[in-house]
């Protein structure tokens, strides 16, 4: 068990180190310079050259870009461990970590329910579809369509249908801007109201994937030896399917671990479509504003988030699958 986690931890650490290094290197390898962009933004207030030079050297200092690269790299790490992701250019002088902190609740609020509910519902419906021809003939094509749909497009279609044409839901935002965030039912309701469409589009795309996966896995499981054995002993179909479902769920869970990265990507673009104030919208404005520090910070945050999510799924898998659990305890 310890060895298993040691290995996982090693993978994750290496991933993290690689990600941090890439993250640090990319903006420094690319053409362009964040300070130029920052100055361009402030440009209207900067009327003479001396003044602009003074400001630019000031910003070079603030962002530590005047130091040798290796110092910058070490500083980057040091700052990272202090939870310091640098200062945002677009929201100067706000720290990037604050920007991310503000955006997290929205992204998690979208992602977690969407992942869990779609996983649960997709698997259930997929299992039902494997059982019933009618369902199979309806759910399956629908699922294929959904899972092949780009997240952003489904989001656009939902927004167009339910927010623009029918006006059932708001087009954008995390809550009615006139409201002040508070612990009230009114505000909670408003949050949910704004949450629903982005959630629905994330949910639907993933749902399709899980449903198909489960449907196909079940069919495989039903062809396995233990299923045939049960059938030969006259066990009712229900029991056989129950076993098949349980066992088919395991690869689905490991599939979940692999899919998390893609789902996060989907959530980002969905947020963008709906102007949902999460990490996705944040990274878009960071990119549009060439806010290197924010881009770096958000990227790292996403990596860490995905690593944590993967780790949770790993643990879940270990708990659910006796094979890995026993294998880890050094059993036979």
């Amino acid at each position: 068990m310890r060895r298993y986690f040691a290995r996982k931890l090693l993978t994750y650490s290496l991933t993290f180190i690689a990600a941090v290094t890439v993250d640090w290197a990319i903006p420094r390898l690319m053409p362009g310079n964040p300070i130029d962009d920052l100055l361009a933004r402030i440009g209207t207030r900067c009327n003479t050259r001396e003044q602009c030079d003074a400001i630019s050297s000031y910003f070079y200092n603030v962002f530590g870009l005047h130091k040798p690269l290796w110092v910058q790299y070490l500083t980057f790490w040091k700052a990272l461990f202090q939870g310091n992701l640098g200062i945002s250019v677009m929201s100067f002088p706000e720290p990037v970590s604050t920007l991310i902190k503000n955006a997290i609740p929205y992204t998690l609020g979208l992602l977690v329910p969407a992942i869990l509910l779609s996983f649960w519902a997709g698997n259930k419906v997929g299992a039902l579809a494997a059982r019933r021809k009618i369902l199979d003939n309806t759910v399956l094509p629908l699922s294929y369509t959904l899972t092949a749909t780009p997240y952003q497009w489904l989001a656009m279609v939902l927004a167009w249908t339910f927010a623009v044409t029918w006006r059932f839901f708001p087009i954008s935002g995390g809550y009615d801007p006139l409201r002040t965030p508070s612990w009230s039912f009114g505000f909670a309701g408003d949050l949910l109201y704004h949450w629903f469409l982005p959630f629905a589009s994330l949910f639907l795309v993933q749902f399709g994937g899980w449903a198909i996966g489960m449907r196909n896995m079940i069919i495989y499981e039903l062809e396995s030896d233990y299923a045939h054995y049960l059938e030969a002993l006259g066990a009712p179909r229900k029991l056989v399917r129950k076993y098949a479902y349980r066992n088919a769920l395991l690869p689905q869970i490991s599939g979940l671990a692999l899919a998390i990265g893609a789902i996060v990507g989907g959530a980002l673009v969905t947020e963008i479509v709906f102007g949902y104030p999460g990490v996705g919208s944040l990274i878009l404005s960071a990119i549009n504003n060439k806010d290197y520090f924010a881009i770096q910070g958000i990227f790292l945050f996403i990596i860490v988030g995905v690593l944590i999510a993967n780790f949770i799924v790993d643990i879940m898998y270990v708990i659910i699958d006796p094979r890995t659990r026993i294998g880890m305890q050094g059993g036979s």
């Binding site: 396995s224 030896d225 233990y226 045939h228 054995y229 049960l230 059938e231 030969a232 002993l233 006259g234 066990a235 009712p236 229900k238 029991l239 076993y243 349980r246 066992n247 395991l250 659910i320 699958d321 006796p322 094979r323 026993i326 294998g327 059993g331 036979s332």
Partner: protein
């Protein structure tokens, strides 16, 4: 007679057409009898074993009837057959090592399957553990996953589970082929023990290994290319075979003590016929050294001696 099979025909559906894997077999197994079913691969012996309990997707019931304890087995009806499975007919499958659900503890799986057949698990549990002990397994295995058992342990667990409801007929399908000689012997002797203790009334042991059957079977039924070739008491088949195929088969088996230098054995020339379009008449005639004109007709499976059935024109 515990089991009575009449003119059973079960074919395999393939692209090219039906493979006549089991083409009209008639035989019986008496109460308390262990019948060995032997033959080369592809002779239809597993098809016969399986068709008595579970016709898989590609198997097609064509003709014939099966009677167990004077009750007709609805082998062609997947659903109807459920009533008889496990309780009346049971199987230790070829894939016994992988027959256990990998994600259920063995006890729990047993409970679920037994209760699904309307039997109270708790009342049967003492007997279950007793039998597990008999085969050298402690009741700890009930709290284990199949992963935690060795191959032999899994096989024994399946043997006990399969026979727990004291079926009238047990089909043991190639259960010793993948085992080492020492384990093979233990498992084979266990089968006998199960019969002796009345866990099962009668048994059909499907294997390609005649020497195993000689050790444990009361009678041996030899199949060739979907047809029955010979059936007799085990000793008779081994020591006094009458079908040319059986004879050639036995004479080609090396034994401890026989050496290449001293006694050169020979195999049977040729290969078994394809069953997609099987030859008419005796299906062995192409390889048979004794074949003559009459062999173009299919020889009947006839009792030539008491309890000794042969399908060969030369023996009639």
């Amino acid at each position: 007679m515990s089991l009575r099979v009449e003119n059973l025909k079960v074919y395999y559906r393939t692209l090219a057409g039906d493979v006549q894997a089991l083409d009209g077999v008639t035989f019986g197994i008496a109460d308390g009898e262990i019948m060995g079913l032997a033959g080369e691969s592809g002779c239809g012996k597993s098809t016969l074993g399986n068709s008595l309990i579970y016709l898989s997707g590609r198997m097609k019931y064509v003709d014939g009837s099966v009677e167990l304890d004077n009750k007709e087995l609805p082998i062609a009806d997947m659903h109807e057959m459920d009533r008889f499975r496990y309780k009346e007919v049971s199987i230790i499958p070829q894939y016994a090592m992988s027959a256990l659900n990998p994600t259920r503890k063995i006890g729990k799986m047993a409970k679920e399957i037994i209760e699904s057949r309307g039997v109270d698990y708790h009342s049967i549990l003492p007997e279950f553990t007793r039998r597990l002990e008999l085969v050298g397994l402690s009741d700890d295995v009930l709290r284990m996953f199949s992963l935690e058992l060795s191959g032999g342990m899994k096989q024994r667990a399946v043997m006990v589970l399969s026979t727990l409801l004291n079926p009238s007929l047990l089909i043991a399908d190639e259960i010793t082929s993948a085992l080492d000689v020492s384990t093979q012997k233990a498992v084979a002797e266990m089968l006998v023990e199960f019969r002796d203790r009345g866990f099962v009334k009668s048994m059909m042991v499907v294997t390609h290994d005649l020497s195993i059957l000689h050790q444990i079977a009361d009678t041996i039924l030899v199949m060739y290319a979907g047809h029955l070739a010979e059936k007799a008491a085990a000793e008779v088949i081994i020591n006094n075979p009458r079908h040319p195929y059986t004879r050639l088969l036995i004479s080609s088996l090396p034994e401890v003590g026989v050496t290449y230098a001293k006694k050169r054995l020979t195999g049977i020339a040729g290969t078994p016929p394809a069953l997609l379009h099987p030859p008419t008449g005796c299906r062995f005639k192409e390889r048979c050294p004794l074949a003559f004109e009459k062999c173009v007709e299919q020889p009947p499976f006839i009792e030539v001696d008491k309890g000794h059935f042969v399908a060969c024109w030369k023996e009639i």
